[in-house]
Symmetry: C2
DNA sequence: TTATTGTTTTACTAAATAACGAAATAGTGA
DNA sequence: TCACTATTTCGTTATTTAGTAAAACAATAA
């Protein structure tokens, strides 16, 4: 069966969102922004890596449509604009924890 | 601020789930399996690429804990075991469509 | 204007990972 | 054994990632 090309286009766009979230540092940023916007400097302090590196990851998330930024004086503030990302992340977390438990009990057995 | 290492471990596991979904072909497989299990041959027919390629992508999804398989005679049947993946995928789709609309209206304006 | 702060971008290196097709290798059942 | 379905391995090519350093940029203060 041949898939419609518009379907493929949609899949590519959607996959880009998942790909953007598929990196520990970027996922950490998303969770850090869960409740309120933060400046780049706060994100750098929290994540513990260089500003230039964080800035690159932020631009990936922005391009994917997951974050938006806004200037506040000298600072750039970033905020989450895809609330379902947090929901899905918690769902994945539950599954991951369950798997880790299972793994642990196999190790013990 | 320094992050706990167990937090980092969890982030890595979760990121793996997102990474697994961050590929058009794999996302297509997930949506194809939305309602019922399918054999590899059906997935190959639907996605339109080689079996060896599909098989590898299936193993990525299985390893991430998104799919499970079961043998039925000669065939291997795959099914989705992470229902929230579908929910999140629809949420992302809505956002992607909105962005495409906006893009289109900018192009027209 | 110049200096300072906060951020982004570009450029480069090096290592790791991912993608795909083709061929070899399982498993299962007749 | 043969046919069928699926997985694995191999080799090539491409992409991703981390990291650092330097330059560019934007807004504010002196």
């Amino acid at each position: 069966m041949i898939k419609l090309s518009s379907e493929n286009e949609k899949l590519k766009f959607k996959a880009e969102v998942f790909k953007a979230m598929g990196h520990p540092l970027r996922l950490g940023i998303i969770e850090f922004l869960r409740d309120e916007e933060k400046c780049v400097c706060e994100i750098v302090d929290f994540m513990g890596t260089g500003m230039s590196n964080i800035s690159k990851h932020l631009s990936v998330l922005k391009k994917a449509g997951i974050l938006e930024d806004r200037r506040d004086g000298l600072k750039m503030m970033y905020r989450l604009i895809m609330p379902c990302a947090i929901e899905f992340s918690s769902c994945v977390e539950q599954i991951v924890l369950k798997r880790l438990d299972k793994h642990r009990s196999i190790m013990v057995a």
